[in-house]
Symmetry: C2
Subunit: 339 residues, 2 copies
């Protein structure tokens, strides 16, 4: 028994008694073919179970219809809402998303970007602006349009859809200051390869500096976005000489872990220790007290990023630059400083 190959345009043409050009037209511009022949062709397509060969199509059309996104991780909830919206909007516009994760690692991200381009993506969505110049050069060279998300701190000629990480955290810190807090600590993602995390810390420092405090006394714990790691960070922070009255976390997962650990140590939140989060994830409403946090418009960001990328793919020259507003969500975990 011969290995019967997949049917091609030619098979359909033969069965329908027309040329391959006509079959191609039936599929791509049905209005340009007589309805009688169109029906014959459609029947042939059905009976043969024909579907166009992707590689051949990509070769001749010079595009694949695929766009790629490289995000730090798929495993956590942090990016899932935004990416879900991104992919939904992309789908509406007829594009398909390929997802890769960088494990928050610079080299891995560079590898993934190259891998995606080798897989024929027509455009890219990237998180943050922190990567080697060589990567940007490569993207230029390949003429691959890209959009950067989760930050707006990018060169003027690049498209981005994000928000002001520093400003958001500065606002939250100012709020804590107004509640009487003077001893701050921060739990952040590792700062080394993460411009968003650095921005958030910078916001805290800016606010306390403006309040006349010394930003260099700010204790910073760098830990991954995990409950237990954030808990351990709390242990370390509370062991310090002048323990903080408020811990500003770079993310709600960390805030949730911090709250749980503080409570396990017998501290009341927020009476004894205030804790704030970032992102307004589902986590923020699961713990008790609920987390005072920064609401990030993830869905909007994903949607707008998709639109920006589609525009770039269409050849629009002006790179879209979108700054989304964030807002403080006051819930129970931030209270007045203890007396």
């Amino acid at each position: 028994m011969a290995e019967s190959a997949l049917p091609t345009l030619e098979d359909v043409a033969r069965l329908a008694g027309v040329s391959t050009a006509t079959v191609s037209r039936c599929l791509n511009a049905p209005e340009r073919v007589a309805s009688a022949t169109r029906e014959r062709v459609e029947n042939a397509v059905d009976t043969l179970g024909y579907a166009p060969n992707f590689g051949a199509r990509a070769l001749v059309m010079r595009r694949t219809g695929i766009v790629g996104a490289v995000i730090p991780t798929l495993a956590s909830a942090i990016f899932s809402r935004g990416i879900q919206a991104f992919q939904h909007e992309l789908d509406r516009a007829g594009w398909t998303l390929v997802l890769a994760s960088s494990d928050s690692n610079r080299e891995t991200e560079a590898r993934q970007i190259r891998a995606l381009i080798a897989r024929g993506v027509d455009g890219l969505f990237l998180v943050g602006a922190e990567r080697d110049e060589a990567v940007y050069r490569f993207l230029m060279q390949r003429k691959t349009p890209f959009v950067i998300g989760w930050t707006t701190d990018v060169p003027a000629d690049q498209a981005c859809v994000g928000f002001d990480n520093a400003g958001a955290m500065e606002a939250m810190t100012t709020r804590a200051l107004s509640l009487g807090h003077r001893r701050f600590a921060v739990i952040s993602a590792p700062l080394a390869q993460n411009d968003r995390a650095r921005g958030r810390v910078a916001g805290v420092r800016a606010a306390i500096a403006r309040a006349g405090l010394d930003p260099d006394t700010l204790a910073i714990e760098e830990v991954p976005y995990e409950l237990g790691a954030a808990g351990d960070a709390v242990d370390r922070l509370l062991a310090a000489e002048a323990a903080p009255t408020v811990v500003m976390c770079g993310n709600d997962v960390q805030a949730a872990g911090a709250i749980r650990r503080a409570q396990q140590r017998g501290l009341r939140v927020p009476e004894d220790l205030s804790i704030t989060g970032f992102d307004n994830l589902e986590h923020a409403q699961l713990v008790d007290p609920a987390i005072t946090t920064v609401d990030v418009p993830h869905v909007q960001m994903g949607t707008r990023a998709a639109q920006a990328l589609v525009e770039a793919l269409r050849g629009d020259e002006q790179p879209a630059r979108v700054t989304l507003p964030v807002s403080l969500v006051m819930r129970g975990s931030l209270g007045p400083a203890p007396a």
Copy 2:
């Protein structure tokens, strides 16, 4: 200024003073070319910034190296761990993942499957076994190998990597019975297009039937995997004539929502009402009391599924059929039945 196109194999060949065949060899089988010429070619590749054209390669190789996965949703944590593992293992084996979501909708899933195949995926990862016969016929016709995850309840000739949804829930129910519970209720995902959810409910019914109780009295609330919706379901269940002493949830998100709502109504968990979950998500450890749940080996499932798919892609005839063990995780939310 002319629109300079991307460099091709021919450009490289010309610059290096060799034939395109030699350049191709340099890229795909470097050991089959003299090191002197290889160096010349590599230099030419660098200076031109050459990268192979994906479409041309896919056309002649008859494969894209891309596999697709269609999952109910990207937005929740339910599938993210498994998918992350799936993609990681795939990456190790040199494949790229394209992700699509079906919104838990049968027609949408069918559309997404066709769309992915139109995008040239060489294989597919699907969740659950519930879909139209036409979809399976289409996959056969296209000779597209696929693996089914999250269940093992599939025809014998299909590859699957999953666990026993019914058995897991039956075990949990039996545990509740041994704690004296006699009035059960279930909060489940909508059953209509979800074989895993139906399996879990069937497990509850089987256990209570075996205990001599009437499974037809079992109250079932079908709601999405959202905190608020699960809370509302609790309200309805508790309004019933003979309120349950234990609510078995099909998922930890629902269990978390149920616990919060019960507590807001002034009930103590588990003293007044026991609640169980499923999946052992991060949620389960965030709420207080922590959720007694079914641990599902998501990471293993994703990894094994990737391996199974890669095998199928390599042409292995025997479809892999993997059943992963699940286990009960006893935490605080399930206690003895109230007296």
